[in-house]
Symmetry: C2
Subunit: 347 residues, 2 copies
């Protein structure tokens, strides 16, 4: 009963239904079919013909071929979003925003690279070979943008520090850093540690610099040796913290600012294991305000970044560019807010 399978009994051999087939069935030309199929019939196709074409389309199950259409029009109805890291839960909310704004006219396709990797110039050229109606690029690094010559409509997301002529929607993470500094200063901290990411993404730089500047201005100190970095991973962050804590304690550090909530989870975990009281002995803060930060114990004080809005605004801007409109503002910056929870203030 072993089968020598030639599978796919499904209608794999079903012939592609073309506009020509519809045209023949409806007794009109392919031009008319095209008009009707694309919703451009009104005022250009007689009601009778339109009805006939619709009927034929229905009967045959005709769908406009994207490839043929793209070639004829010079561009596809696809919007491609390039993202370096989808494993970040934050990304899912950004996508949701993009989808919401894009609606059904354009098809959203994601091109992801391996974790932490940027798309190669080669990848990108191939992407452009698909003739996307527009490109959304999340968290690009500057060198990538240089390679990305001659795209059509392009909007960057979360790409701080670019020339003002590049359409972009940014998160004001610097503001978040300042809010954090103000909050910690207000709650009496003098010496603070900082746990950075290791990817060197611009947003991490901005987070760090904004915090450090504001902290300094507010009379707080980040002592020598109280600045470390760890990969974005709970366990690794926990280890890094465990190793650093004895020295920090000696230095008098009473708060630690983490570049991401994920780092902060590691600190919370290790602190619990080591019996460090939070926030009494050590206050902990993060960035991103991931879902778990509301429900961890204690809750994590974190900078909330509006991911859904980021995606939505970026897609809206892109839609304008695709429509050939000018952008009122090339660059949009979205405010971040500080969510204060039990990891910095006694519940």
């Amino acid at each position: 009963m072993h089968s020598t399978q030639k599978p796919r009994a499904t209608a794999i051999n079903r012939r592609r239904v073309t506009a020509a087939m519809v045209a023949e069935r409806a007794g009109v030309s392919t031009a008319t079919v095209s008009l009707v199929a694309n919703g451009k019939a009104s005022g250009r196709v007689s009601p009778g013909n339109e009805a006939k074409v619709r009927e034929a389309i229905r009967e045959l199950g005709y769908v406009v071929d994207g490839i043929g259409s793209s070639l004829a029009r010079g561009v596809s109805n696809t919007v491609i979003m390039v993202a370096p890291d989808i494993s970040n839960p934050f990304f899912a909310t950004v996508i949701a925003g993009v989808r919401a704004a894009l609606g059904s006219e354009f098809q959203l396709l994601l091109s992801v690279t391996d974790a932490g990797q940027l798309p190669s110039a080669d990848d990108t050229r191939r992407l452009l070979g698909l003739r996307p109606a527009g490109l959304l690029v999340d968290a690009p690094d500057p060198s990538f943008l240089e390679e990305l010559s001659a795209p059509g409509p392009l909007v960057l997301l979360d790409a701080p520090g670019l020339g003002p002529e590049v359409p972009a929607v940014n998160l004001d993470v610097a503001q978040g850093g300042r809010l954090l500094a103000e909050h910690l200063a207000a709650t009496g901290h003098k010496k603070v540690a900082y746990i950075d990411g290791t990817t060197g993404t611009t947003t991490f730089e901005v987070r760090r610099i904004a915090f450090l500047e504001a902290a300094g201005a507010l009379g707080m100190e980040v002592p020598e040796g109280a600045r470390i970095a760890a990969t974005i991973n709970v366990g690794l962050a926990a280890n890094a913290f465990a190793e650093a804590w004895p020295q920090w304690k000696k230095l008098g550090v009473s708060a630690v600012v983490c570049a991401t909530d994920t780092h902060a989870y590691g600190v919370l975990q290790e602190a619990r294991a080591a019996g460090i009281s939070i926030p009494g002995e050590l206050a902990v803060t993060g960035f991103d305000d991931l879902p778990y930060s509301t429900t961890s114990s204690p809750g994590l004080t974190s900078v909330n970044l509006p991911g859904e809005l980021l995606g939505r605004r970026a897609a809206e801007q892109l839609l304008r560019l695709i429509a050939g409109e000018d952008l009122e503002t090339q660059q949009v910056t979205l405010e971040s807010t500080l969510m204060v929870r039990g990891s910095t203030v006694q519940g």
Copy 2:
């Protein structure tokens, strides 16, 4: 003389470089350009012409147009992966596996739907309009597959319970359920609770049924009222558990099996808050073995599902189908393993 500078056009108005332009520059036909550009020159184009074409391609910065090429060949060099939920961290590892196996010949594009939503038939038709070389569909539901008529090469991932004629790579979550039951029986539990997901995904059904059957066979009981469900969210799972725990306690429940690690994190969190000793008073288990499960305290006993391998195998199968080869095995099932940690056995 023309310059030998790199073909880095200055943005916006660069004219598309076509094969015809390359052909003219090299003094050959577009047929020859096509052969060279596609690496099919060997034995079909004279060395001299090949060199001339390569030179022209370099000078002009020519890239084969994906749309034109796809139309001529009938299929694109794109592989589209349809996935219902990218916010699941597990998914990132699957993608990594797919990318690794796919190599550089095919361009991987992701089509995601909103969380928990299946792609509509309409979406899918448009996807097929892009003429992908192959389709990968992650965690589809059966009704979706019915609509997906007449695709070319197609491989399903994590789609248990399908007819044997559909190429698929599955995770043996049933085995995971059995391992869990055996482990809990071996560690002396008699009454066990179960926290299910709410999405009704097939994999959740399989997890539950396999566990319940094995548990029954091993003499364990899941009492009336000790089966609840919660959305995949730490906080919601925590709440659901908090509400259920008093009754479970009365019933003599000493272990709880969660459909996902995320549910289990909620239980761990609430248990800590409520002073329930783990695993002494309550043993906790999950499915998925997410990264945090190694480092939570206590570590979470969980069924490890090989995500990277899942993606890799699926892509390998797809590559075979694309190449027109037969599959040795239509359906591949990957073993799951049980990672025993502190949430079920005293560290």
